[in-house]
């Protein structure tokens, strides 16, 4: 899906936990996430910290969208 939306003309950031799958399907911008059943959260944190964690990940994703890439790139930090 990432690939087809990008083909349509939009930059896509793929936020996912199993990065090797994302690389195999051909995502160009990838942000690794927390866990398969809760990629953008962590139920062990209190709600405030959990939201901060999510905000941090989304900020990373947005930053990746403003970054030019030539090849598949995993945005770790």
């Amino acid at each position: 899906m990432v690939k087809e939306i990008e083909r349509a003309g939009l930059p896509v950031i793929h936020m996912c936990t199993v990065v090797p799958i994302s690389l195999t399907v051909g995502a160009n911008r990838i942000v690794p996430t927390i866990a398969i059943p809760h990629p953008l959260g962590n139920p062990n944190l209190d709600p405030k910290d959990e939201k901060a964690l999510r905000r941090n990940l989304v900020e990373k994703a947005l930053k990746a969208l403003t970054t030019e890439v030539e090849d598949q790139t995993v945005f770790e930090e």
Partner: protein, 349 residues
């Protein structure tokens, strides 16, 4: 050679431990024959025997690939088997990646002949078909008998170091290996035969299938986030509560487009997940954990992004055919472009 000693790898589901709620279990080893191992072991007809079964939760493996691999390698080493078999994984994505990863590691790090099996569209197939033998199976466990029938003879051949025939003869996924051999007819004759068949509209088999390198070049970056419209798309199955369009929990045949205007965040009162391939407890408790509407709303208010697009698009990425996903995304992509969206955040579980 005595009886061939086999170690078998399966996930929590095929071990009968549990479904998605048990997908986080760590690797463990049992000196028994379990689940699909029964049919495989019977297929060996006494020539080989499963001495141990290693079980690991699919989510644990997917989230901790390096650790899981190291732990399982240690377990395999202890038994010093003559053969290692993983799966078959059919079209289960995380399971397929686990089977591929561990088969590759056992074969190439421990030097033990290894084999796995899965459906050709499983992401694990593309990742590992070049490094290990992957028997091509059907896309669901209904194909177990067929899978075992194909895996057993190939496994025995690999264990005994016998010559392995072509992918068609041995039913494994082509590895891209070329082999020289002599044929009865020379090239020009074969080419003309093929051309004649093609002209008559008959089926013919190419001798040189083109590799499929379907890559899309990255689109240019967003210049100014504060003016950009960002859309959310997910394969994690987030839908309005009650799943109004009945998106299937696996092998989805459709996607949904839902209005989130006025939603400050998604809650258990209004949204849930339709996905059947992961433990839904956390996403149902707070759907923002899969689709971060709360944070993007906040950033929209702060002026960090121009706008959160009014609609989100969703489907269930669980054994969904690649062709379906491709079709959904072509339509979604077209609409998003037409609606003036600048960039997409796509979340997957």
């Amino acid at each position: 050679m005595g009886k061939i000693k086999v170690v078998h790898y399966i996930n929590q589901f095929f071990a009968g431990i549990g479904g998605e709620e048990k997908a986080h279990i760590k690797p463990e080893v049992r000196e028994e024959i379990i689940g699909p191992g029964m049919a495989i072991n019977a297929g060996f007809k006494g020539e080989a025997e499963i001495v141990a079964t290693i079980i690991c939760g699919d989510s644990y493996f997917g989230e901790n690939i390096e650790e899981a691999k190291a732990e399982i390698l240690e377990m395999v080493k202890k038994y010093d088997p003559d053969l290692f078999i993983a799966g078959p994984a059919f079209n289960a994505g995380r399971y397929g990646v686990a089977c591929g990863t561990i088969t590759d590691a056992v074969q190439n790090e421990l030097g033990i002949p290894s084999l796995t099996g899965m459906y050709v569209e499983n992401p694990g197939a593309d990742m590992f078909k070049k490094s290990v033998y992957i028997v091509s199976t059907k896309n669901s466990a209904a194909g177990m008998r067929d899978a075992v029938k194909k895996m057993v003879p190939l496994a025995l051949k690999i264990a005994k170091g016998e010559e392995i025939g072509s992918p068609e003869e041995e039913h494994y996924i082509p590895r891209g290996v070329r082999k020289n051999f002599f044929t009865e007819k020379r090239g020009s004759e074969r080419a003309v035969d093929m051309l004649l068949k093609k002209l008559k509209g008959e089926e013919f088999e190419t001798e040189f299938p083109m590799p499929d390198f379907d890559r899309v070049d990255p689109q240019p970056a967003v210049k100014d986030l504060s003016k950009a419209t960002i859309a959310l798309v997910t394969s994690g199955g987030i839908v309005p509560k009650g799943n109004p369009d009945h998106i299937e929990s696996s092998s989805a045949s459709k996607y949904g487009k839902y209005d989130i205007e006025g939603f400050e965040n998604l809650t258990s009162a209004d949204h849930e997940t339709a996905h059947g391939g992961y433990d839904p407890v956390y996403a149902n408790e707070d759907p923002d954990r899969v689709l971060p509407v709360d944070v993007l709303r906040e950033m929209e208010k702060e002026g960090k992004i121009g706008k959160l697009h009014r609609y989100f698009y969703t489907t269930v990425g669980n054994g969904t055919a690649v062709a379906s996903a491709k079709k959904f995304a072509e339509e979604i992509g077209k609409e998003l472009v037409a609606d003036g969206v600048d960039a997409v955040i796509l979340t997957s579980t």
